[in-house]
């Protein structure tokens, strides 16, 4: 694979936290490649560094060592303004805790990434409405997050992650606050609606029941990636 076809190309990533005079090595010599059109899952025990790794990949946390290129560009080398713009255009986020703005309606929440990118409000909200339709919430555009179930909120969050057509979507535990069935629906949406040839998905999860949605799975332990492979190999 050449650089150009890679969505994510991490080399020798290291990250150490300082907590009360103590050093915690969260990432140690991480190597990871994710191709466009691929759904990559990051799995591993609690505290092994999964969240830290996707934070670095998404450019919201700086690594101490190594380099991480997104679509051939190294975010750490960018000026902070360019980095923000890059993030605004190219990355969508889905969180375990949904992180919707509680006082905005579904359609307003979904339009936020477009507005950050300078799209006019009316245009942004029209586009947001279309995407909500796509995730099956066409009738709930005016609802506030508190008026929606967990699964519906996560679908709004997925719509928000998609609306500006980013090239990479990062998800941290998108299903762990949901019951099994809802989790399957949400994963179905991510796989069928969010994923396509020009976009990569990175999903951090504990939830073995959704492993089968992955194209490849990277197993982590104690700051390392211990194996990367197809689902069957891992489960076997």
């Amino acid at each position: 694979m050449t650089e150009k076809q890679l969505a994510v190309h991490c080399q020798h990533i290291g990250k150490t936290y300082q907590a009360g005079g103590q050093k915690i090595v969260a990432l140690n010599d991480i190597k990871l490649e994710i191709a466009l059109g691929e759904l990559m899952m990051l799995v591993g025990p609690s505290g092994c560094g999964k969240t830290t790794l996707i934070s670095v990949i998404a450019g919201i946390l700086d690594q101490d060592e190594g380099s991480c290129a997104l679509f051939g560009e190294d975010l750490q080398q960018m000026r902070s303004k360019d980095k923000l713009n890059f993030r605004a255009r190219n990355i969508g986020f889905v969180f375990q805790a949904y992180n919707l703005l509680p006082s905005l309606t579904a359609v307003e929440n979904v339009s936020v990434p477009l507005i950050i990118n300078g799209v006019k409000r009316a245009v942004a909200e029209r586009k947001a409405g279309e995407i909500l339709e796509l995730v099956g919430l066409g009738t709930r555009t005016k609802s506030l997050p508190a008026q929606l179930s967990g699964g519906q909120q996560q679908r709004v969050a997925i719509a928000r992650a998609l609306v500006h057509s980013p090239r990479l979507i990062v998800c941290d535990e998108p299903t762990s606050a949901l019951d099994h069935e809802t989790g399957q629906t949400v994963m179905g949406l991510l796989k069928d609606v969010a994923l396509h040839a020009d976009r990569a998905l990175v999903i951090v999860t504990h939830d073995a029941r959704i492993f089968n949605f992955a194209d490849r799975i990277a197993k982590m332990d104690d700051g390392h990636i211990t194996s990367v492979g197809a689902v069957n190999g891992l489960l076997g």
């Binding site: 969240t51 996707i54 934070s55 998404a58 919201i60 946390l61 303004k81 923000l84 713009n85 890059f86 993030r87 605004a88 255009r89 990355i91 986020f93 969180f95 375990q96 805790a97 992180n99 703005l101 509680p102 006082s103 905005l104 307003e108 936020v112 990434p113 507005i115 950050i116 990118n117 409000r121 941290d172 535990e173």
Partner: protein, 386 residues
């Protein structure tokens, strides 16, 4: 992003109301206490305001404020009249004299003697009778507060309310008979004695025999005459002090500022009001930002830059600031309106509006700034923490 900022602010009605109420409270105590202070201090010179008409007040050089009477000889009046640029100059007597009431008790009164013919310097508002009635023999005009209270006649039933002094009643001022021909409304001063207006010559006859009895010479400048120039000319020609209307107010005001405990006592309560108001308002707004930190973090992760977030926070601060300020100032005005007939001093000039407005703006900008520092320092990576 503006509509997002506003929705964030107003989305939680309870919190929103809390911030607005905090700022309302802050604006209230930042305007109400100073208004009382300004009202109180303006009483120091309200007699000068009431006299109104003259451009210049001439007096003994040792006079430090309006109630500090150092009498002049009557001849000074004619010297002032002879100075060029003087349209007219009138005498005024101001002094404390004892009045004997019909029930035999004594009450000190602030007696004002006005020029016999022109009656210049009389009370600003007549409630009954006419100021011209002072030309009748033995006549006096009494202020309404004095007439109701200290000069009132004892109630026929014991412990009842006093009967106000009315037109036609008599008093004795230093053993001279005085007939009340009018009741006037005067602006309250620091002096609590009843105010009694009469003519200059009658005031002199009431006053104890002394060589000098002229308290002030009131001067009107000729049209087009520069007041500052004329005061200088009067000073040079007579060796007396001459102040323009506003200078005399200022002299009096400054005397009270320097020589009484009012400014320091009130200054402390005003400063305290300001600090408490600032703390309450700043704290509520800062708390609001802290509670919304995660939302700001999400926006930041999604690529919103610091300037955008700064503008959002400033907009929120300006909005709650203006609403709180409007409500607080409104409450202060209502308070002043409710108290208008009481003894409470209250004055709400536009300068105070600006002063408190600047104060509230300062608080909001400051609160917004410490909030924005928090947001700028915010690591967007917190969004993944649950």
């Amino acid at each position: 992003m503006n509509h997002i900022a506003l929705k964030m602010l107003m989305g939680d009605k309870g919190k929103y109301l809390g911030i607005v109420m905090g700022l309302t409270f802050a604006s209230l105590i930042m305007t109400q206490q100073p208004a009382i202070f300004v009202g109180l201090m303006s009483r120091s010179y309200s007699f000068i305001s009431d006299v109104g008409l003259p451009d210049i007040w001439v007096m003994d050089p040792k006079v430090q404020f309006v109630d500090d009477i150092k009498p002049l000889q009557d001849t000074e009046l004619y010297r002032v009249r002879g100075i060029s640029g003087v349209q007219w100059a009138m005498p005024m007597y101001k002094g404390l004299l004892k009045a004997r009431l019909t029930d035999g008790t004594f009450q000190t009164c602030n007696v004002i003697g006005l020029d016999d013919t022109t009656l210049i310097g009389g009370p600003p508002i007549m409630l009954s009778g006419k100021i011209e009635d002072l030309r009748r023999s033995d006549s006096v005009i009494v202020d309404i507060d004095g007439a109701r209270d200290k000069l009132g006649k004892p109630s026929p039933t014991s412990g009842g309310k006093r009967i106000p002094l009315a037109v036609g009643d008599t008093l004795e001022l230093n053993d001279h008979r005085a007939i009340v021909v009018g009741i006037a409304k005067v602006t309250r001063t620091f002096q609590s004695q009843p105010v009694v207006y009469t003519t200059y010559s009658r005031a002199k006859s009431y006053a104890p025999r002394e060589r000098k009895l002229l308290s002030f010479v009131l001067v009107k400048a000729k049209p087009g005459q520069d007041i500052a120039q004329l005061t200088r000319r009067i000073r040079a020609a007579t060796g007396l002090s001459a102040y323009s209307h506003n200078e005399f107010k200022e002299l009096t005001y400054n005397y009270f500022m320097k020589n009484t405990g009012i400014p320091i006592n009130f200054g402390i309560s005003v400063a305290l009001g300001f600090i408490v108001g600032a703390a309450v308002a700043g704290q509520t707004f800062y708390n609001f930002t802290l509670e919304n930190l995660r939302q700001f973090g999400v926006l930041k992760a999604m690529g919103a830059n610091n300037l955008t977030l700064l503008r959002m926070i400033l907009l929120q601060a300006v909005l709650v600031g203006s609403i709180g300020y409007g409500l607080g100032v409104g409450l202060t005005a209502l308070f002043g309106h409710a108290m208008r007939h009481t003894i409470l001093a209250f004055k709400f000039p536009w300068q105070l509006l600006i002063f408190s407005g600047a104060g509230v703006s300062l608080i909001c900008v400051f609160a917004a700034l410490i909030s924005i520092i928090k947001v700028i320092r915010l690591e967007p990576a917190i969004v993944f923490k649950s």
